[in-house]
């Protein structure tokens, strides 16, 4: 589903060069649920941006669902984002002037679905997150947790193969955070690949695999059973090596 090999990304200003990712390699198989953790400034968001085709990288190779994305035009990248990736943002990023129905409709309109098809998909996605009865509410009329569920519905409505979640529980209380994680697990069980970027290790442990990033590189990697402190059980060096 997602295959990054030797990815490097440097942010340059007149005086400073920041190496956000260095020789970063990660492969995520279809149907996987991977949590990416790391301290602030470790490169999590840069990884998320590159994985979601929101940003370009400097060197390396990235294949998304078998498509090499290097050198693609903006229009093609936009189409890939629209068709194959669903985004869940920390701040929900719902459009405040639009009700929940229209918010979920945003990516579907760019996709060019018919009105009827869109309405069915929106209803189905809102059903999944339990917000169908609130479809004509404005975001401001919903709680933080409900807004994030609406954002999840928006991410799922186009039926993407990959769901990228950037700190999806960052702006909700702990109870709501657990509910959102339950929902993500449910979605994953239905076959959608999920990459979750979080600094919350408790939540990360609910993913099938964990990747820890430090200084733009994968430092630890384990799967299913979290390791005891100090141990790196399940570390898979082969997954970190360039292909």
């Amino acid at each position: 589903m997602l295959d990054m090999q030797g990815i490097s990304k440097i942010y340059r200003t007149d005086l400073i060069e920041t190496h956000a990712l260095r020789q970063f390699s990660l492969r995520v198989e279809a149907g996987d649920f991977v949590a990416v953790t790391g301290p602030s400034g470790s490169g999590k968001t840069t990884f998320m941006n590159i994985a979601g085709l929101l940003e370009d990288f400097d060197t390396g190779r990235y294949q998304l669902d078998g498509t090499d994305v290097s050198g693609l035009s903006d229009a093609v990248r936009s189409r890939l984002r629209n068709e194959r990736i669903g985004f869940i943002f920390q701040s929900f990023n719902l459009i405040p002037e639009l009700d929940i129905f229209d918010n979920v409709d945003v990516p579907l309109r760019y996709r060019g679905f018919s009105r009827r098809d869109r309405a069915e998909r929106i209803a189905s996605a809102l059903d999944l997150v339990g917000l169908r009865s609130r479809m004509h509410h404005l975001p401001a009329q919903l709680s933080g947790g409900q807004q994030q569920r609406a954002a999840i519905a928006r991410a799922l409505a186009g039926d993407p193969g990959l769901l990228l979640a950037d700190e999806p529980t960052g702006n909700v209380d702990s109870l709501m955070a657990r509910q959102i994680m339950d929902l993500l697990e449910e979605i994953n069980e239905m076959g959608t690949t999920i990459v979750l970027v979080t600094h919350d290790l408790e939540l990360a442990r609910r993913a099938r695999r964990n990747v820890h990033i430090v200084d733009g590189q994968v430092s630890d990697f384990w799967s299913l059973e979290p390791p005891a402190p100090g141990l790196h059980a399940g570390l898979v060096p082969a997954m970190m090596a360039p292909a």
């Binding site: 929101l54 189409r79 629209n82 943002f89 990023n93 639009l98 229209d102 309109r109 950037d166």
Partner: protein, 401 residues
């Protein structure tokens, strides 16, 4: 193509203040534009209408006797002989009036004896070089000969013949050719029409009978005299200077009042119309500029305030073109709302202006052109902010600050 109109409309509806103010600006600008365009067009047509004369090569000299020794007839003979003898002068005539000078005389001309009222016309008294000095075209009949010119009117002298402009001839004789027919003076004396002039202007620029002109073969009364001089092309200015110098010094019994080119007389006649057209054009341009700035300002504000939203749309699959289209559509909807209100306002203002000031009401052409103009201006004003919006990178969606 999915135009995404409904969500944009909904978004405007939920936060309407800025859009409403800009739409009002557009409405006001359109109402002024449409009505001003009609008035300006009318004035431009008026200023640009042909007068049938050789205006660039004509000038007028006004003199007046002021001493007991002054001999009007002798002065005319001397001055006209001198003027006609000048190299470069095509023709010179004494005249009772000058086209568009805003002074002169008019009279009612009857097409049958016994009528109480005639057709009003500008009356010009001129000599045998009158037509040549005017530079007008005679389309039928003949000009006056020197022998036919009557001395200055004393009492009610009968006129044997008259020249009419075609416009006047048509209203006097709508059933056919006026040449050779007779018109009648207020004492029911017949006057034969001996020539038809294609077109010329009379005395008063705002008179609706400006092109109803009759020329009679008679020397106007003194002691003031007007000489209309026509020169060869390119020699007018030099001759004006020479004539001015001569007329000021050649006869101590009279004064030189003024020397003016026909172009200058015409320019002065249309000065108010020209100034009104310029003023209205400037005001309309200023209002359009304000409306364009309003649209630009609103679009710029929207882009700045929605940077995160734009990034989110990009992340969700919007191409740069989708973002440009979104903002242009949003701006167009505001412009369209303003234009719709503007059309109603323009029609109401046009009705009021026509009733109060007899000004032309805006026609369909003015309305449609005005709407198209504000629409194009709206698109151009929103273009740069829309392009800036399209340049917002999708990665903005993941920024938390």
């Amino acid at each position: 193509m999915n135009w995404n109109l409904r969500p944009i409309l909904v978004a405007i509806w939920r936060s309407p203040t800025g859009a409403l103010l800009v739409a009002l600006q557009v409405a006001l600008a359109l109402a002024v534009l449409v009505n001003a365009a009609g008035i300006v067009q009318q004035r431009v047509q008026k200023v640009g209408r042909p007068n049938g004369m050789d205006t660039p090569n004509q000038f007028v000299v006004a003199v007046s006797g002021f001493t007991r020794e002054f001999d009007y007839t002798a002065m005319l003979a001397t001055d006209l002989a001198w003027l006609r003898g000048l190299p470069g002068v095509v023709a010179a005539s004494v005249t009772s009036a000058v086209p568009l000078l805003d002074s002169g005389s008019s009279a009612g001309i009857r097409n049958a004896p016994g009528l109480k009222a005639g057709r009003q016309a500008n009356i010009f008294e001129m000599d045998e070089q009158g037509l040549a000095a005017l530079g007008v075209r005679l389309v039928a009949g003949r000009a006056f000969s020197a022998e036919e010119i009557l001395p200055p009117a004393q009492g009610n002298q009968a006129l044997p013949q008259i020249l009419l402009t075609r416009a006047l001839a048509r209203v006097l004789f709508p059933d056919g050719d006026a040449l050779g027919r007779q018109v009648y003076d207020p004492l029911d004396r017949p006057i034969t029409v001996t020539g038809i002039i294609e077109h010329m202007h009379g005395n008063w620029v705002d008179w609706d009978k400006l092109d109803h002109v009759a020329i009679v073969p008679r020397v106007p009364e003194g002691p003031q005299a007007l000489y209309l001089v026509r020169t060869r092309a390119g020699e007018r200015d030099a001759l004006m200077r020479r004539v001015e110098e001569h007329m000021a010094t050649s006869d101590p019994t009279r004064l030189l009042l003024w020397v003016r080119s026909m172009s200058s007389i015409e320019r002065r006649a249309y000065l108010a119309d020209r100034n009104l057209a310029i003023f209205l054009t400037a005001v309309t341009a200023a209002l359009l500029l304000v409306a364009a700035l309003g649209i630009f300002g609103l679009a710029t504000y929207n882009v700045a305030a929605r940077t995160r939203q734009i990034g989110t749309r990009r992340a969700l699959g919007a191409r740069r073109g989708d973002i440009v289209r979104h903002f242009l559509l949003e701006s167009s909807l505001v412009t369209t709302a303003g234009a719709t209100a503007g059309v109603a306002l323009a029609l109401a203002a046009g009705y009021w202006l026509s009733v109060t000031w007899q000004l032309p009401r805006p026609g369909l052409l003015h309305l449609s052109t005005g709407v198209a103009a504000v629409w194009i201006i709206g698109l151009l004003a929103a273009w740069q902010p829309a392009r800036r919006a399209a340049a917002v990178p999708p990665a903005v969606a993941t920024r938390t600050v």
